[in-house]
């Protein structure tokens, strides 16, 4: 081969490519900083996207690049699937979309490790540490891929959201799968070249991913997705070390660190410990608790009509709306916004009380209400809102359940005991819009519904809210 022209050789020189990578991860960090504020977030995300584009271009410029047909095919396939999915997904389905995107990331990681294994015929002629990081990436990537897919299935309601577990054997099975996967990994790192062992390791990790997420109930799913997000980040960083690629190491590790923080934060907000969630403790404990608690309610549930609710709201001075997942499922955010406008026309002061884990992800409610053009300054975070309930005439709970359950404060035996809640029962009266008396994701009865100041308006959140708005017009 003749020497390439000077310009080409400059573009392909490894120092130049390294500089591009450094620019790329600088942009990632800058982009993430931007994501930390509402005014800079859009720009932050785009800066990170530019960083990604630069990193991809740098990789394509490298001297060893080839097989262009395959590259084009892969990228075209990915774009054809990813772009419409991202464009068309409803805001309410965002959590499962994130789960799915996270899953394919994990899938890419373990496939890359597998091809690395095959290409080197079992890591022959490579340093042991490269094998170790590549194997770590394969195991974690596979767990993340399968775990995320199950999480997607549960949130999309393809798979029942309730915990499905092997009972007390679950933890032993999980531990066994983990040990098997690790043992296979150690065997390969120590010099076994058999692809059978590698595939066995992938299968153990896949089963582990399934076994960990299946027993987890819908309520804990945000924590799980966040945890798997961190996992995929870590596995990407490990792939980076195995391939000696700084952009991969930095980007992967930042995601690993941020995912860990987010996971902790969510778990704290729900008063759940991450080990307990992973061990599947919640589902089992919650079900038993719900069964024993169900018979204890002496109080009665009072139901109300849209017309009565409208009158109550119209003559209130201050109304606090407490949205939850029910609002998201019913796509009721625009109807809620209409109701708010109607009430404000009558001089009613309206606020929104946002629990950090209302919906299925932190910030889920904020995204939906922002979509419906609810101004920021009407949204109140939990601590703020809890001080306000005392001077609130009517709290309108729209499809929120566990985050308002007084059992978290009053019943030490409850599985959600200790979780910070929105103390709606401090307001003068409470209207709860709910489809039925079925318990929420945590599977626990809500004492709030039996309290004397509470009335229930049964029905779909969107229909009920629209009805109230219509009734308001007649007052």
């Amino acid at each position: 081969m003749s020497a390439p022209p000077l310009a080409t050789s400059f573009l392909q020189s490894s120092s130049f490519l390294d500089v591009l990578y450094i620019i790329a991860f600088g942009l990632f960090i800058q982009g993430l900083r931007g994501l930390s504020g509402p005014t800079t977030a859009v720009r932050g995300n785009r800066i990170a996207a530019v960083g990604m584009a630069i990193a991809v271009i740098a990789t394509l410029l490298n001297r060893n690049e080839g097989n262009w047909g395959l590259i084009v095919l892969g990228i075209a396939l990915g774009t054809a699937v990813g772009v419409p999915a991202a464009r068309q997904v409803k805001m309410t389905a965002m959590p499962q979309m994130v789960a799915l995107f996270n899953g394919v990331g994990g899938g890419a990681v373990f496939l890359i490790s597998w091809s690395e294994f095959r290409l080197t015929h079992g890591y022959q002629g490579t340093a042991t540490y490269i094998a170790i990081f590549s194997l770590f990436a394969a195991i974690v990537g596979s767990v993340s891929f399968w775990g995320s897919n199950i999480a997607f299935g549960k949130l999309q309601e393809i798979i029942p959201g309730r915990p499905i577990s092997l009972g007390s054997a679950q933890q032993i099975v999980n531990l066994l799968l983990l040990i098997l996967a690790l043992a296979a990994g150690v065997d390969i790192a120590a010099g076994a070249h058999s692809e059978g062992i590698f595939i066995g390791m992938l299968i153990c990790a896949a089963l582990l991913g399934n076994a960990v997420v299946f027993p987890i109930g819908g309520a804990d799913m945000p924590v799980v997705i966040s945890m798997l997000n961190a996992f995929t980040g870590l596995s990407a960083a490990a792939t980076g070390i195995a391939l000696n690629n700084p952009a991969l190491i930095v980007a992967g590790m930042i995601v690993g660190a941020s995912g860990t923080i987010l996971t902790n934060l969510m778990a704290t907000a729900m008063n759940r410990s991450i080990p307990a969630i992973v061990a599947g403790g919640f589902g089992g404990g919650g079900a038993v608790e719900g069964a024993s608690g169900a018979g204890e309610h002496a109080g009665t549930v009072r139901s109300t009509s849209a017309a009565d609710a409208a009158i109550q709201l119209a003559y209130a001075n201050r109304v606090m709306i407490v949205p939850g997942y029910g609002m998201a499922v019913a796509q009721a955010q625009h109807a809620v916004r209409e109701l708010t406008k109607e009430l404000e026309k009558r001089g009613v002061e309206v606020g929104f009380a946002i629990h950090p884990v209302a919906g299925r992800m932190p910030g889920h409610m904020n995204v939906l209400l922002a979509e419906a053009d609810v101004p920021y300054d009407q949204l109140e975070e939990m601590d703020e809102a809890n001080q306000e309930f005392g001077r609130t005439d009517v709290s309108l709970v729209i499809g929120a359940n566990d985050v308002t359950n007084p059992a978290a404060k009053n019943t030490p035996s409850s599985p959600i005991y200790g979780m910070p809640i929105l103390e709606v029962s401090n307001s003068h009266s409470v209207i709860v819009i709910k489809r039925s008396m079925n318990p929420g994701f945590a599977g626990i009865e809500n004492e709030l519904y039996y309290e004397p100041e509470t009335t229930m308006l049964f029905g779909d959140a969107k229909a009920a809210v629209s009805e109230i708005t219509a009734e308001l017009a007649h007052i």
Partner: protein
């Protein structure tokens, strides 16, 4: 000892990146947690590079090529889908009609 120094350099990068991740992320307000999760999710799509690097190496068998095309497709879905979804979410925050002075910075003042 070239190998060892590559490893230690990379480990140093790894540790420093971890600290940067903690520092940068811990300041994010609750409101932005869903977009942040989605944004970081897009960033780990960088594994796409791994697929691109390996597919270029000679010696890939037919089966390897299949795996790698799938890996590249997966990585691309992760990157493209992730950034687009995050952008869509954040656009909704941006178009607020005056919601307090500090929120209006993104909009051009007339």
């Amino acid at each position: 000892m070239i190998l060892a120094s590559t490893l230690t350099t990379n480990l140093a990068i790894l540790v420093l990146a971890g600290f940067i991740g903690f520092v940068v992320i811990s300041k994010v307000p609750n409101t932005l947690h869903t977009p942040l999760m989605s944004g970081t999710n897009a960033i780990h799509g960088i594994v796409l590079l791994g697929g691109l690097l390996i597919v270029g190496l000679s010696g890939n068998s037919a089966f390897n090529k299949v795996i790698l095309v799938i890996a590249i497709a997966f990585g691309t879905i992760n990157v493209v889908g992730g950034f687009l979804v995050t952008d869509r979410m954040l656009e909704m925050f941006k178009s607020k009609p005056k919601a307090g002075g500090d929120k209006a910075g993104e909009e051009k003042k007339p």
